[in-house]
Symmetry: C2
Subunit: 378 residues, 2 copies
Amino acid sequence: MSTTPATKGLEGVVAATSSICFIDGDKGILAYRGIDIHELAERSSFEEVCYLLWFGKLPNAKELSDFQAQLGAERKLHPDIIKLLKSFPTSAPPMEVLRTAVSALSMYDPDAAKVDHESNIRKSIRLTSQIAMIVADFDRIRKGKDIVEADKSLSTSANFLLMLNGEKPSDTADKALDVALILHADHELNASTFAARVIAATLSDMHSCITGAIGALKGPLHGGANEEVMKMLFAIDKAGEDPVEHVKKMIAEKKKISGFGHRVYHTEDPRATHLRRMSRDLGTKDGKPKWYEMSEKIEKFIKAEKKLNANVDFYSASTYTTLGIDIDLFTPIFAISRMSGWAAHVIEQHNDNRLIRPRADYVGPKHPAKYVPMDQRG
Amino acid sequence: MSTTPATKGLEGVVAATSSICFIDGDKGILAYRGIDIHELAERSSFEEVCYLLWFGKLPNAKELSDFQAQLGAERKLHPDIIKLLKSFPTSAPPMEVLRTAVSALSMYDPDAAKVDHESNIRKSIRLTSQIAMIVADFDRIRKGKDIVEADKSLSTSANFLLMLNGEKPSDTADKALDVALILHADHELNASTFAARVIAATLSDMHSCITGAIGALKGPLHGGANEEVMKMLFAIDKAGEDPVEHVKKMIAEKKKISGFGHRVYHTEDPRATHLRRMSRDLGTKDGKPKWYEMSEKIEKFIKAEKKLNANVDFYSASTYTTLGIDIDLFTPIFAISRMSGWAAHVIEQHNDNRLIRPRADYVGPKHPAKYVPMDQRG
């Protein structure tokens, strides 16, 4: 066996070739299919980004309108899935509900086990629409509210906010969520996407990959970080403390401050730039700039004190809260967006597959260890 | 960024240090915690192997009987999970049912989100008992039969066969399944276990890891192989063909013959030795040696013609069929067994964690690719 030395967490190890996402962590560059994230955040839409990620090119006007119509047409859930959502405890964490419901969807999907390109595209479209509906529907159900019917003509972001809140969002709110969905759409071989590719590489189906990815995103070291940021902001607000004093205390107590630093970026996370701006704009518009102002003070302090940059999670917390979204829906919203990237990577993996099967460096008892008979065991 | 060159499928790349499973692919050695698989297959039990994998040592008599009692005590499913199983289409693939039901279990698990050692052990015990029950219960449900109550005093294998068939298995059948469970319990960083560790490394919970692992195991390149072997044997039997002639035709048509070769073993898969013996013994005892005899002829031919060795999947097909188990339960049974290894790896990952986040070698359009305005797109 020829092996390379162990690198804990596969840091810096290249695990796949990919044409989807380009990251330069030193220069703070993120690009989908070569197009810079700043251009996409300012000029594109989430639907266009899905198209770009899955088809490898920007759609022309007809392609985009057809694609939007397909996404709209898939805004429907099998009645059994609605029943399923209603059967879960209302206290169930939304990420567990989402993971379970996405897994169940395969049983009602005509393309379930297929891994060819066309089937994968159809399932990507379906799942993108369905995941957003599951998140919104379960939130209504757990709050004892009626489910809101989907509007097939709206954007993914506007329809989600409509189904969540029961009313059409303002243009500012719609735009803010749309940009957040663009920014979170893909990030190369992050842990959830890598999990999706490991699963895809057994030639398992899209639903298995997405279910696994949701499970990975659920972890506090991945999707959970912006929840932690918001919990901190809420704690500061409740105690009426000075944000910087609070953070100083946390550092003294060796507590982790979420929302700062990134394994890949050594400069500002390019996504933070836009989320900071949205957090500020939304706060100003809303007359509730409190969360933004608090965040800004903390960011400046951590930057000066720890030389750490705010990452994508830091300002998404205040942005989502200003949009009126519950804290335990932050990660599900991340999933709505990242679904697009997961799908792109599953498609890429299936189209040129090789089983992903690394080795471990064995450090346990030396073989052959004795099988001690029962009566001689301590 | 410093990266090592891309190795497709991470072949030969060390992704973790581990004390659980030792494999020497050149010498055909497999050992759990240093103890050779041949010793374990001949002298141990599945319950003892679970203990060995999770606690790192063989249990003494009291430890083993306490542990068996704990496994027995967890042979219960929340009524909502039974309802869930009854709500699925009876045509649903059992692996999709298992993936969904395991995901749902977290909503009823008192330790759901915890990742500490003790909680993980409790969940490992619970899930090992619950997964076997889900597989058996759904098979009864889809066949319109009543669910069979668990017998807390039986071994995992005997209880599973009881719950599946409605009667206590013969000692030979119980022993055959018990050995199969021992042989499949762990195999280092195979794709499903690696998926579980990638998910665990975000500090996500055991249920997320196992759900993802089930999704990976479902893939035809992983758990699905023994199903393919059995489909081939059924096709040969139905056509009344000579097994070797059938396989020759498959080779001429460039069809893949499942159940041969292994990325890691370059000699006989040590698990195949025991499954071959069990397939033969069961066939003899049963008076139905047909599947074994067919398999043996194919094995000899492929060995001579292609220099490929039978792997773990080849003789598990005839073994399970001789046990009267449906073909689409082969992979779920693999999951019942591998649950023990998945859990051991999740526990090990959580106890010394680092996020698993590799990099991709980007080969897409060069950044910055132009964001072409809509009216200029082709």
